[in-house]
Amino acid sequence: MANDAVAEQERMRRFRDAALPYLDEVYTLARYLMRTTDDAEDAAQECFLRALRHFDSYRGPAMKPWLLAILRNVCNAEFARRSRGDVPTDCAQDESVAEEMPMWREPQASPEKVILQQQDSATIRRLVAELPAPFREAIVLREINDLSYKDIAEVAGVPVGTVMSRLARARAMLRSAWNASENTTVRSGPATASGTAP
């Protein structure tokens, strides 16, 4: 029994060293998937509990995508549970709905017009949060969690090709929302460089 306790301590230590450095990453994804901070915190905690339980079967090599995949499962399970009640969910939203949305293409947009830096983080967060779930997940995993396509595919459980098309669509939707929100703010503010002011 003493040996067991030592072994267990060793296991816990290995888990801490491997997993805890990714707490912020896990929490970040949780914030984007779950919307409220309370839910995000609960999901992150549940993620680490599950990870600890399955740590023995963890076969690596990358801890980050493994944790994020667990987190995603936790969130989806929670959405599924809520949808059995009558709480509306958006993770369950069918991708086909979003697939019907036109791919945003605006070839006439010149680089100078894209004054994205003017958007503050709060606005960007809001725009990301408004994306349909599969696209939101893809863009957050790529841009914010900084995963490779291969890792995103593993986390989301879809082929790399799907990751690529989701990312393209996510960025297209984001850009159009981005431009739209910029236009509204610009209208009330001073003229941009691109226009000839009267």
Binding site: D56, R81, S110, R175
Partner: protein, 263 residues
């Protein structure tokens, strides 16, 4: 290259996911296409803003300390784990947690979990690895029937020199090799085929096969064989019939000493 086809590749370029050849193709196209150049510029700007870390969240301190407590080194006695849980924490994620009482119970079971790398755990994992390997594109990292190509491929990837044995004459075709992970450790997987049946041979130094004699079992419909030989543990998984798999095992086992001395 048409602009439509390029759309997805633009993103792959931004994300650094294109090989040099494709990156060059895309850049060539963009250089001569103002529409795609504009797209690329705007997406790149967006990528720059989003990827800068400004959108990263930091876990709140109370969450961090809660999770740290969950994974703190447990005291030898289970009862002391209770102190780690905040009894006021609201109940969590239905079905799983019913509040702190159950959390404590979960923690207690964690304390009692013993680190084991026993045969059963490894057996389950090699079967999972076998099933995973059958997914498209997962079977092989190095695809060749030449044992002299497969064997050196493992150099530096695993810390053993796995014997790679050509059994084509015995109608077990060597397909190639793969790096796999069992229990988080890199393991050499050598892939054979008989008729339509794939055979994965996993080789590593410590893989829970403690017996020199071959142990046979069946897991999820797959036949599994494992044995220990010359300081290496061998696991074989396949949907091949048991007697044929035994034949395979016997061929491998009898060829291993020759193969090792040859290396």
């Amino acid at each position: 290259m048409k602009c439509d086809e390029l759309e997805v590749l633009l993103h792959a370029l931004i994300d650094g996911e294109l090989d040099a050849g494709h990156a060059h193709d895309v850049e060539m196209h963009v250089a001569g296409c103002s529409a795609c150049a504009a797209q690329l510029a705007s997406y790149r700007a967006m990528h720059g803003v989003m990827g800068g870390g400004a959108l990263k969240e930091t876990a709140p301190a109370h969450l961090r300390s809660r999770i740290e407590a969950l994974v703190a080194a447990p005291a030898p006695r289970v009862v002391s784990m209770r102190g780690f849980f905040k009894p006021t924490r609201r109940s969590f994620f239905g079905g799983f947690a019913l509040g702190s009482a159950l959390s404590a119970a979960v923690a207690a079971s964690l304390v009692l979990t013993v680190i084991r790398r026993d045969e059963q755990a490894v057996a389950d994992e090699v079967v999972s690895a076998h099933i995973r390997s059958l997914q498209p594109g997962h079977l092989m990292d190095v695809a060749t029937s030449d044992q002299h190509t497969v064997k050196p491929w493992f150099n530096g990837r695993v810390d053993v020199a796995p014997p790679v044995i050509d059994l084509t004459a015995e109608s077990f075709t060597l397909l190639g090799g793969r790096l796999d992970y069992i229990d988080g450790e890199p393991v050499a997987a050598i892939v054979y085929q008989r008729r339509k049946h794939m055979i994965n041979l996993f080789v590593a130094q410590h893989l829970g096969a403690r017996h020199a004699r071959t142990v046979a079992e069946s897991i999820q419909g797959y036949n599994v064989r494992h044995w220990s030989q010359d300081g290496l543990d061998f696991w074989v998984v396949s949907d091949l019939a048991g007697d044929e798999l035994d034949e395979f095992v016997q061929k491998i086992a009898s060829a291993v000493p020759r193969s090792s001395s040859a290396s």
